[in-house]
């Protein structure tokens, strides 16, 4: 009797843990299968192109707006902060470093996660609950190759390009505020930006972008692929895709930074 109630208690406590490990295992298998299929034939070029356009071209306004205001606000903040030490001259390099290393990759990735990760989960989730994924299988087509692989490749290709563009726009934002509001000499501002420009700043940003792109696509596809239970399930999948991708982006942002810059 007593032992029984202990057993029941433990069983109830353990259930979430079992569920967690089940999900973790399921997710790992999903990622492994996705990566394996990325390197095997056939590749559905038409689907890849559609994803690249969706994720890249149509994200341009969002990424542009995000990075230009990020660059502008950094110029303003660092100016007012650094004035206390008489170090206003560092504004250009602060803008350069923070935009290329952090702001452009992280903010763009978060915006794209909201825009594209959600759309992926919703589309694949709807295909799951309306049996379109089963239909793919019965038509001798591997749904991983048809649906997941194009999205993963698109994430890996498009995010770095978006971030490179975001770098330029963000630095331009800093330049606009620096020159037109804070009264820097345009030539000096550009000069000090170019002088401080280092390959590692750009490279880390681009590496981050590729990792974030992978995270966005994988989380979008995984949550959509495993969704069940009609409209509500698809809704939950969409939310989960965005939330989990955003959190993973921030975690991996720290990990990659640590790998590159801690010595």
């Amino acid at each position: 009797m007593f032992l029984n109630s202990i057993e029941n208690f433990l069983r109830r406590q353990g259930q979430p843990l079992v569920k967690f490990f089940f999900r973790l295992g399921e997710f790992s298998l999903f990622v492994a299968q996705a990566v394996y299929n990325c390197f095997t034939m056939p590749i559905y070029w038409r689907n890849l192109w559609r994803q690249v356009v969706d994720m890249g071209f149509y994200s341009l306004p969002v990424v542009g707006l995000t990075t230009i205001f990020a660059g502008m606000v950094i110029a303003l903040q660092s100016y007012s902060g650094f004035m206390r030490f008489g170090a206003e001259g560092a504004v250009a390099s602060v803008v350069l470093i923070s935009v290329t290393r952090e702001l452009a990759p992280v903010l763009s990735a978060l915006m794209v996660a909201g825009r594209i990760g959600a759309a992926m989960a919703a589309e694949i989730g709807t295909m799951r609950v309306t049996e379109q994924i089963d239909a793919l299988v019965t038509l001798s087509t591997n749904p991983f190759k048809y649906l997941v692989v194009p999205r993963v490749w698109a994430g890996l290709i498009v995010m770095p390009l978006l971030v490179l563009l975001g770098d330029v726009i963000g630095i331009f934002g800093g330049y606009v505020v620096g020159v037109y509001k804070l009264g820097f000499n345009p030539a000096n501002y550009i000069n000090s930006t170019l002088q401080d420009l280092q390959a590692i700043d750009i490279t880390t940003g681009v590496v981050k972008a590729a990792v974030f792109g992978f995270i966005i696509s994988i989380m979008g596809c995984y949550n959509g692929y495993k969704s069940k239970g009609g409209a509500q399930g698809v809704g939950a999948a969409t939310t989960n895709a965005v939330v989990s991708a955003s959190i993973l982006i921030l975690i991996f942002n720290y990990i990659i930074t640590e790998l590159f810059f801690s010595k």
Binding site: Q132, D134, A135, V137, T138, S140, T141, N142
Partner: protein, 254 residues
């Protein structure tokens, strides 16, 4: 009996604690049209998903053309699917593609047919299920339920499969459209000389398209025979089901 196309032996499947199939035995002869009847939630859909390898059963064996289906790898599965077609309950048409691209999907993606040729073939198949060629360029969401079923049927038969599965082909259609779909099913199965396995709870449809009927209840086949035998049988499950009575051995869980 003629050659056996599909042979299912002692098939078991459970989802968690819920047992869905508990020892299904079934044989389908080549060129035969078998209809599995049974109430909602008796595992009819799970049965055909097992045969197609969409769901892996816990135990038991499924032989298609004398080759085991349970536990085969992806490559063999794709080969298996190349001789199967399926009409899904909700149509399951790809909404990112047009109607003709849906119908020609297998021809283009797996059989390497050129676009022009594939479209011509798709239009031909669409016409054979009674759809005009101007439907071909529409999107599936622009079609009515009955038309979606027809497109689904066209997609299922486009690659000339040896086995066709019909999942509740008439559910959600009015009686006249149901009859049209039933006739199309009979016609296309006959033209292809295919083996057909349908699941339904629509008895009008079952009587019309079946060579033989099997009844699934509580995860087992409780009765099988021809339509004539079905009308004479005193099997209490079958009698209750075909007459649609709430009293009898089948208890509806409310």
């Amino acid at each position: 009996m003629a050659d056996t196309k599909i042979k299912i032996k002692n098939l078991h499947k459970a989802f968690g604690r819920k047992i869905v199939l508990s020892g299904v035995n079934l044989e389908i002869a080549k060129g035969e049209s078998l209809v599995v009847i049974g109430g909602s939630g008796t595992g009819k859909s799970v049965l055909i998903k097992c045969i197609q390898g969409l769901i892996t059963p816990e135990s038991g064996s499924i032989l298609v053309d004398n080759r085991e289906v349970v536990g085969i790898d992806e490559e063999e599965k794709e080969k298996l699917h190349s001789k199967m077609g399926m009409l899904f309950q909700g149509g399951a048409l790809f909404d990112s593609l047009t109607v003709w691209e849906n119908v020609a999907f297998d021809l283009i993606e797996n059989r390497g047919m050129g676009k022009k040729e594939a479209k011509a073939e798709a239009v031909r198949v669409l016409r054979s299920v009674g759809l005009a060629s101007d439907v071909a360029d529409l999107s599936p969401s622009e079609l009515s339920g009955g038309m979606q079923k027809r497109v689904g049927l066209a997609r299922a038969i486009a690659s000339k499969p040896e086995i066709i599965f019909f999942d509740e082909p008439t559910t959600g259609l009015d009686p006249i459209m149901s009859d049209v779909i039933n006739n199309l099913i009979i016609k296309s199965v006959k033209e292809l000389g295919a083996t057909a396995l349908s699941i339904t709870h629509d008895m009008t449809s079952a009587r019309k398209i079946a060579d033989r009927i099997a009844m699934l209840y509580k995860g087992k086949i409780v009765w099988e025979g021809t339509v004539k035998e079905m009308d004479k049988t005193d099997n209490p499950y079958v009698c209750q089901f075909i007459n649609g009575c709430s009293d009898g051995p089948i208890k509806v869980e409310v």
